[in-house]
Symmetry: C2
Subunit: 163 residues, 2 copies
Amino acid sequence: MAEVKSPVNLLFLRDDDLRQGIELLFFAYRDFTAKADETLLQYGFGRAHHRVIYFVGRNPGMTVSELLDILKITKQSLSRVLGQLVRQGFIVQRPGSTDRRQRLLSLTDRGAELERKLTEEQRALVAKAYRSAGAEAVEGFRKVLLGLINETDRERFTPRTQR
Amino acid sequence: MAEVKSPVNLLFLRDDDLRQGIELLFFAYRDFTAKADETLLQYGFGRAHHRVIYFVGRNPGMTVSELLDILKITKQSLSRVLGQLVRQGFIVQRPGSTDRRQRLLSLTDRGAELERKLTEEQRALVAKAYRSAGAEAVEGFRKVLLGLINETDRERFTPRTQR
DNA sequence: ATTTTATGTCAGCACTGTTGACTTATTTTT
DNA sequence: AAAAATAAGTCAACAGTGCTGACATAAAAT
């Protein structure tokens, strides 16, 4: 099925093209989260816990505010899951060195282990999709998703400029 | 767009590449749903209502079972939102002609109007992302997302073979 | 006539989001 | 030094959306 004729010709976007994109996002996200959700159940956790564990693992020593900015939820919502994770020994908090009001977050060994387990499943799925689609497609995937993300958060993905 | 040339065909996928993909999906989906969620609030509805309205609009006359298959939720969960939408006149049910146990679903005018309003926001966002990324990128986006979707649902996206 | 299927309903529970009100440390500003 | 702002947390109540389990009804299939 000759792909050279690229179905979407820049300026001519039919309703069906856009709806297909919408549906792809729905189905892909649904399946992307399905497996980790199962694993989380075994720990009595939900998707919110995964997000916290993921981003803390990714940014050790981050503050609660930074985490709130990423998740875009209220501190009361975060407090619930974060509290559980701290009490159950998946995350530790230590006061900031310059600003002692801050509670810098990082994973414990146990937290890191769970993070690995959860993310492993998603990494494998993404790896499979990347491989079957090819390097060029991955580049396109990145470009389009980036375009869906609000300008502020988009810069999280800019190459090497430290934030 | 010669796909054979993919620079590294057996992609060398570093942990960071995969994590970037994971994060792109998270942020993109978060922002992709944000606007419609706001609109839904004005109607006292949630994201689940949107999904129902969307898929019923897309497949007029579909059965409840088909809808359940797509959403992958229980009938009790669906029942709640579907019931609300029916009682409030966004969706109508009529018995199937060959199998009168079925309740075929379709949008009322009011439902179609809401569907348009909601999906319009997402269509606009996808259109923007598509345009800024370019036709080739869109093709890649499709390929990768398709690879994330389970095999069974993947065929919803195969070109013209009716299912 | 019996069983299966399509659909719905009631009840209760869990997770995750919200708002609002208030507290405690600490830092910043005046 | 006093006042104000900030980082973080807490309690309470509520809403939306999943889930399981149990049961009901009508129609179709066997």
